[in-house]
């Protein structure tokens, strides 16, 4: 659920920043900007007015989703009334601890055991597969176009085809609603101001990159008289340094190797010859002190700390989030830095790209129940969820609780989990559209104190789109890993690459890794994925 949450944060961050800066981001404007976005064809109706209140029905439904510590939504509460007004249906949500998905999953399972499955909920860890197989969730194929046309239209047909392929019974029925992303969100960022200071251009070859990294290491670009610069680095499990792998054409999302076409066949990128060559290069960087020695021990907080105190030259992360680091760097060191996206650098004989995946995890499933009134209520909610004219309303939440009107402009209040009820539906996060984001950023950049940083986010976001490539494995269901959790968890992969990179294993051990991987389930998983690919994409 990593992705889902950072999308959530990214979105709320930008929109909140927009509002905090006092710029107009009224409901009208939001609705307008959503029209004509390339990947959401035939979006909702004109949306020139603020969204029309929906016709209410008497049925309530219980909905479970991510809750990071906010209050529950009970019958008659402000949030309940809000949903009843906007979508026509009262929504109830008890507080269920999220804890990265593990507690949530346990609580959900216990509810299922007790025969109290919620009417609509977020499935985690691929549970929708078992649920569908056992007939526990509803077949949505016919219901969606009829009762939730807005949502049906929001998601392109080719994506629905992929969802149909997830049917465990092989009937091509739709059992879940996906979340989709139509733009590339991650890339490598370099301190352009350091390059300027050292009179170096943005590197376009590996050799140039290595020289730049060496200069970062030795020539004190952050100007504090100490050799504390970290040319580049990553985090635990070797994640978040994808660009080093990307140089070799390795498909990788947030540090997790992915599936793409290698040698004409869909293959797991971690076991290709590309990976071996990549490891040689990365290993060399580590040896020369160009890759943070603590890479494999860095958790998010530690790494953020290093970047945020102006020590890191090149990092790989969300391209529209550099402003976060930049603002911290300014507060800590007084320097207004510049992080720019580097175009992917191709290693000799390879073609580099940053990975983009359009289809993310599944967002909603519906309980398979006899009560048609409840089903209709849930479909009505889904329709409202997909209605882009309502997105701004759903974002802002309840007046007085989540936002205030300041000078006639809705402004999000600072987060206060003790009074705010959880926002159950966040369609603007789940069905992400590039133009919407860009428009929000343009608004935020009008704030004079933050403009210098936000402008970089916009630039980076736009530029990054030139560098991304959608991989073949986009939409691959997690059911291919069934029975092989160690393959899904990359246990073998992590062990081997970390030891190879730090120099404990010689590079030859890589072949041993590939062999073991195939023998311990990789063979079966690869076969399953190729079958899926042949059925769906060919």
């Amino acid at each position: 659920m990593d992705r889902k949450k950072w999308i959530a944060m990214a979105m709320s961050g930008m929109l909140v920043a927009a509002v905090v800066s006092g710029c107009s981001s009224s409901k009208n404007e939001g609705a307008e900007s959503l029209q004509g976005s390339p990947s959401s064809p035939a979006a909702s109706a004109s949306g020139a007015e603020s969204s029309v209140p929906a016709e209410t029905i008497s049925e309530d439904i219980e909905v479970w989703s991510v809750n990071n510590g906010y209050k529950e939504v009970t019958k008659g509460s402000p949030m309940y009334n809000f949903y009843k007004e906007k979508l026509g249906v009262g929504i109830i949500q008890p507080y269920v601890e999220w804890n990265g998905g593990t507690t949530y999953q346990q609580q959900l399972n216990l509810k299922i055991v007790a025969n109290e499955m919620p009417d609509m909920f977020l499935p985690v860890n691929g549970m929708e597969y078992d649920l569908a197989k056992n007939g526990a969730i509803l077949d949505l194929t016919d219901l969606l176009p009829k009762q939730a046309p807005h949502l049906w239209e929001d998601i392109p047909e080719e994506v629905w085809d992929v969802i149909k392929s997830y049917d465990p019974n092989g009937q091509g029925r739709i059992y879940s609603i996906p979340s989709i992303f139509d733009y590339g969100k991650t890339g490598a960022m370099i301190r352009k101001d350091w390059l300027d200071k050292l009179n170096l251009p943005i590197p376009t070859t590996q050799e140039e990159l290595v020289n730049v990294l060496k200069a970062f290491r030795d020539n004190d670009p952050n100007g504090n008289g100490e050799k504390d610069e970290i040319p580049t680095g990553g985090r635990q499990e070797g994640r978040w340094m994808d660009y080093l792998f990307a140089m070799y054409g390795i498909a990788m999302q947030e540090g997790y190797p992915d599936w793409d076409i290698y040698d004409g066949e869909l293959t797991y990128s971690a076991v290709t010859p590309n990976m071996k060559d990549a490891l040689v290069f990365i290993r060399d960087l580590y040896k020369q002190g160009l890759l943070d020695k603590e890479t494999f021990l860095n958790n998010k907080a530690t790494w953020d700390g290093k970047v945020g105190t102006g020590k890191v030259g090149v990092y790989f992360h969300l391209v529209d989030a550099a402003s976060d680091y930049l603002e911290n760097i300014e507060k800590v060191t007084g320097v207004k830095g510049d992080y720019t996206v580097i175009p992917p650098i191709s290693a000799p004989g390879y073609e580099a790209f940053y990975t983009m995946k359009r289809i993310n995890s599944q967002n909603w499933v519906l309980k398979n129940q006899k009560d048609t009134a409840k089903i209709n209520a849930a479909m009505k909610v889904l329709d409202g969820y997909g209605d882009q004219s309502k997105w701004n309303d759903l974002y802002f939440g309840v007046e007085g609780m989540h936002y205030d009107m300041q000078d006639g402009v809705p402004t999000k209040k600072p987060e206060d989990k003790s009074v705010m009820e959880n926002i159950v539906l966040s369609p603007f996060y789940d069905i992400s559209v590039l133009d919407y984001y860009l428009k929000m950023f343009e608004e935020v950049s009008k704030d004079p104190t933050r403009k210098w940083a936000i402008v970089q986010d916009v630039r980076n976001l736009k530029d990054n789109q030139k560098y991304v490539k959608a991989i073949a494995g986009d939409g691959l269901p997690s059911s291919i890993y069934a029975d092989y959790p160690d393959i899904q968890n990359r246990t073998l992969y992590i062990e081997y690459i970390t030891k190879i990179i730090v120099g404990e294993y010689p590079i030859e051990k890589f072949d041993e890794f590939v062999d073991k991987w195939y023998k311990s389930g990789g063979e079966a998983v690869t076969q399953a994925s190729r079958e899926w690919y042949a059925k769906v994409k060919a």
């Binding site: 920043a17 510590g69 601890e97 998010k300 953020d304 003790s418």
Partner: protein, 292 residues
């Protein structure tokens, strides 16, 4: 305790080394507390950029102010306190009632029951049947679930039984000859002399109930019934790849500072209890001797 007597040089040296070693160990033990306190008193920026370790950076009371003014946290505190006091008293009672017969050789079933108890300590029921059972007896969303599942622990039972076994038999013999039944013996003679055990086990039970998390997680859905540890979890958010811009602009705390503050909030009462309990240890039962 020991009558004053001339200490040899070796003994004095030992005393010094002993004290120093203990002080060192104590300092090491205080480290997590020091780190948490520093984090809770540091600014958002300092914690975000990972600059805090042993002392606060950019000192601020904001995190503390935030949690201290949260009524739901105090409610949870009250609930946890009540359940701890009631639960501990109940636990000591039930445990004693079970430990006493088990410590008597006359009780034929004693061995069997004790073995059965130890078995439960080693073999743990899987979550699903446990959940269903406790739910069946009506403890779902019921505050009693903070007390009842903890009223006996095999560990404490075994300890109490050992203590009872060592209790001087002569006193019991005397009481029996006076015509006292087992209940009277237990309550009038044995327990009053067992303050050390009761204080110790009371502390153990108290800590378990105070800190409980797994059990209420399964059975409490109503937020107003959450004990402290569950409340603290509400302050922790995992896996965010991006912090919220608004919060940064306006407030001077983040998840980590809040967590540090709430952790300390939950620990302080327990830490204060121990020194208070220590005086009961001294008045305790005496091992290996007959009370005059």
């Amino acid at each position: 305790m020991v009558k004053a007597r001339h200490r040899t040089f070796g003994e004095k040296l030992f005393g010094l080394v002993n004290a120093s070693a203990l002080c060192l160990f104590a300092l090491a033990a205080l480290l997590p507390l020091i780190v948490s306190v520093s984090t809770s008193l540091s600014s958002k920026l300092a914690v975000d950029t990972n600059q805090v370790f042993l002392w606060p950076v950019q000192f601020t009371f904001d995190s503390w102010k935030y949690i201290v003014f949260r009524p739901d946290l105090w409610r949870s505190f009250g609930l946890t306190l009540a359940s701890t006091l009631i639960g501990t008293a109940l636990a000591l009672l039930v445990t004693a009632l079970l430990a006493y017969p088990l410590s008597k050789k006359e009780f034929k079933l004693g061995g069997v029951i004790m073995a059965a108890v130890i078995v439960t300590m080693i073999f743990k029921a899987p979550i699903v049947p446990y959940f269903l059972t406790v739910r069946e007896i009506g403890l779902f969303n019921n505050p009693l679930v903070l007390v009842l599942p903890h009223i006996v622990s095999a560990y404490c039972l075994a300890i109490m039984r050992t203590f009872f076994k060592q209790f001087p038999h002569e006193l019991e013999e005397a009481a029996k000859m006076d015509g006292c039944g087992y209940f009277r013996i237990l309550f009038r003679i044995i327990l009053p002399s067992s303050t050390a055990v009761l204080a110790t086990l009371g502390l153990l039970y108290g800590v378990v109930i105070w800190n409980q998390y797994q059990t209420p997680l399964l059975f409490l859905q109503d937020q107003s019934l959450f004990p402290l540890q569950m409340k603290i979890k509400q302050f922790i958010v995992d896996g965010n790849e991006l912090p919220i811009l608004a919060a940064k602009a306006v407030v001077n705390y983040n998840e980590r500072t809040l967590r540090a503050a709430t952790v300390i909030f939950a620990i302080v009462p327990v830490v204060l209890v121990y020194p208070y309990l220590q005086k009961y240890f001294v008045k305790g039962a005496m091992l290996g001797s007959v009370k005059g």
